[in-house]
């Protein structure tokens, strides 16, 4: 047929065809910062606000912002898998768990220094990324969903059943780290640690997106076969996405474990994976500021609704539903080229 005509919207509801979408206000706003100078000014402003916040607000604000920043790291990691490479992952909490448990076990049970334990945690996570990536490479999205879900559950069950992981009670008294004489232990200390991690994750995400690997992910996501025809190694590209995502997740887990001082399997449930995925899709898959926004919404949303008691999750869920209905591609979606 007409080879150059645009694709027919087969799965699109007939009434949607032919409606031109206006540009999103957030995009317009962001576009106002398109020049590098302005962009830098925006970044510095945000950073300044992040640095000042704990001094002008309560400890509670600091704690939940720390949590939100942890989610920023996790969500940016999952975004590499889901948003960049287009692979579904319903077991992302597994990587989070691998990072947290590796550091927890090494520091608490073997007395390894925290900083010395980090490389091991990262290696373990990378290995987990390869293990989960391996069998899933041939699978399409829905099967990928269940395999990753299964993998996540296997990791959690294993953590609960083994003695070295402390069983269902988990590990406690994970020692707080020190850095050049600075003993990191108060909630403000950890807040700044997570500010640094979130900034690093942001920069890394941006760099990855612009890199050759980032473009390879883009190709693979849009058309796997065409990507392969262009000389992109499909297997290596997908594996790289899982491993990258795993490392982000592990970094989150590493600092999560020392922040709480105690970890237990409850932190790495299927619901946790779902929440991270929710943040990524809600914010806008593939779009870094969108994903960050999503991370803040899923953490701050239920917190701001605390006064509703038992109903808070019900209200949160209804709000989520409304957001998805009004912004089906996420609040701040990636521009479609």
């Amino acid at each position: 047929m007409d080879k150059h005509s645009p694709p027919t919207p087969t799965d699109v509801d007939e009434h949607d065809a032919g409606r031109a979408k206006p540009r999103h206000p957030l995009q317009k706003l962001y576009a106002a910062f398109e020049s590098p100078g302005r962009r830098r000014a925006l970044h510095l402003t945000i950073l300044a606000i992040l640095i000042v916040t704990p001094w002008i607000s309560s400890q509670y604000t600091t704690v939940i912002l720390t949590n939100a920043l942890l989610y920023v790291v996790l969500c940016l990691g999952l975004n590499v898998v889901v948003g960049y490479a287009g692979l579904l992952d319903l077991g992302y909490a597994a990587f989070f768990a691998v990072g947290a448990y590796t550091v927890g076990i090494l520091t608490q049970q073997f007395g390894v220094n925290f900083w010395a334990a980090i490389p091991f945690a990262l290696m373990a996570a990378a290995l987990a990324g390869v293990i989960i990536g391996g069998p899933t490479l041939r699978l399409r999205s829905d099967y990928l969903a269940i395999v990753t879900l299964g993998f996540g559950e296997i990791v959690r069950f294993t953590a609960r059943n083994l003695e070295i992981t402390g069983g269902a009670s988990g590990l406690s008294h994970i020692p707080e780290p020190s850095l050049f004489g600075w003993h990191i232990d108060s909630s403000i200390d950890f807040y700044y640690v997570f500010v640094v991690l979130a900034v690093l994750a942001y920069i890394a995400s941006q760099r990855l997106f612009d890199s050759r690997l980032g473009r390879a992910w883009l190709y693979v996501r849009h058309d796997e076969d065409a990507a392969e025809a262009m000389g992109i190694n499909r297997v290596a590209t997908k594996l790289a996405a899982y491993v990258t995502g795993a490392i982000f997740g592990a970094i989150g887990g590493i600092f999560f474990s020392v922040n709480l001082g105690a970890i237990s399997p409850e932190s790495f449930s299927f619901q946790q994976s779902v929440l991270i995925l929710l943040a990524v899709v809600l914010g806008g898959m593939g779009k870094i500021p969108g994903v960050i926004l999503g991370a803040f919404i899923v953490v701050l949303g239920p917190e701001l609704l605390r006064d509703f008691g038992t109903l808070r999750l019900l209200i949160f869920a209804v709000l989520l539903l409304l957001i998805m209905l009004f912004r089906p591609s996420g609040i701040w979606p990636e521009k479609r080229s």
Partner: protein
């Protein structure tokens, strides 16, 4: 303004507002309730919250504390998740609560100890009882739920008294029931007996037939269920349905009249280890009927302890004569063995319950009765 900035600002403003709303000296006495009122554990969390609010209402009706100041409760929902519980604890701390009562799910309770410790807020832990909590306690928290050791010992005595040799132990894979199961297993094998099956079920799994077959096949003479009544009721039903004739006993997490609703006739003759509660003290009887009439269901296993926790906190505030954290913590630790719903409370230097007075109950005629051998 960027959406992100808006959010940050909004959060900041909100938390500042929350801070400024913090109680003036003469306002109500604000007590935080830390319990999972959403998520899969909400059944137990709401039960605790209900019992605590019942206690607070009674105290308020009696004229409140410290010259007529009323108690006001703030809910700190943990959803049984460590992250969320730290959020909840920080929020309670930021709202300058005088004290906190609650704590369910040891995993979710443990990281909050530091939060309250840093803010010097007295914390009465009513349900979580993992031994891991003891060393993590900076000294501001007291545990009024006996730890698993005591119960494991009660179980050992009980099963030995019944002449059991082969015991099957079933837990639910959470910290509390796994801990109790492990302790009982160690005690049982340590005493030279056999654990013929050491099993585990998922929370919310309804079908235990394979497990029941395995237990029967193992030749177990008795089954010890270390987890909560909801799934325990199902297990008991299915054990009896399949003709298991041996002894069945359940831990204190299953000590609820609701067990009889779920297990029906199968719960007849089932034994439970428990603090002497509800039906055995006059005050407790009153509590059970008040609870039933106010909330429409029978109090759960931790309701009496939660009620006691609130009463104990009120008692300590009264004794301290102020809302000062140090004074209240001191008062709490000086608890002198006065009788509460669940028995006398006094503390060891480790801030755990000094006595172990587990009793054995038996299901008879659709309710728990004291079992005397």
């Amino acid at each position: 303004m960027n959406k992100f900035l808006k959010l940050v600002t909004a959060t900041t403003v909100l938390s500042l507002a929350a801070g400024s709303m913090a109680m003036a000296q003469e306002g109500p006495i604000v007590i935080g309730v830390q319990a999972p009122t959403t998520g899969s554990e909400a059944t137990y969390g709401k039960d605790m919250f209900n019992a605590i609010s019942l206690a607070a209402d009674e105290i308020n009706a009696d004229g409140g504390l410290l010259d007529g100041r009323q108690i006001e409760l703030i809910s700190g929902d943990t959803a049984c998740d460590p992250q969320q519980s730290v959020n909840a604890a920080s929020r309670l701390a930021s709202q300058e609560v005088v004290g906190v009562v609650g704590g369910y799910c040891s995993g979710a309770t443990q990281p909050t100890l530091k939060t309250y410790g840093d803010a010097n807020i007295p914390f009465v832990i009513v349900a979580a009882n993992s031994t891991q909590l003891i060393p993590a306690n900076p000294g501001n928290a007291v545990m009024i739920n006996s730890t698993g050791d005591d119960q494991a010992k009660t179980a050992l005595d009980f099963f030995e008294g019944k002449g059991i040799e082969k015991l099957a132990i079933v837990n639910q894979g959470d910290a509390y029931s796994q801990d109790l199961a492990n302790l009982t297993r160690d005690a049982w094998t340590g005493a030279g007996h056999t654990v013929s099956a050491f099993e585990y079920v998922n929370k919310g799994e309804q079908d235990f037939s394979a497990l029941v077959n395995k237990i029967r096949g193992s030749g177990a003479e008795a089954v010890f269920w270390t987890a909560y009544y909801a799934d325990g009721g199902l297990l008991i039903r299915q054990l009896r349905q399949r003709g298991f004739q041996g002894t069945i006993a359940v831990g204190d997490g299953s000590n609820s009249p609701e067990l009889f609703n779920i297990a029906g006739k199968a719960a007849e003759g089932v034994f439970a280890f428990s603090n002497p509660t509800a039906d055995f003290l006059p005050a407790a009887k009153q509590f059970a009927s008040d609870y039933q009439s106010k909330f429409g269901n029978a109090p759960g296993p931790y309701a009496p302890l939660a009620y006691d926790g609130m009463q104990l906190m009120a008692w300590a505030i009264d004794k301290a004569g102020s809302t000062d954290g140090d004074a209240i913590i001191k008062a709490l630790n000086s608890a002198d063995g006065q009788e509460w719903l669940a028995g006398p409370i006094s503390f060891t230097p480790q801030h755990t319950l000094a006595r172990s007075n587990f009793v054995v109950l038996e299901g008879q005629g659709g309710k728990w009765t004291r079992y005397e051998k």
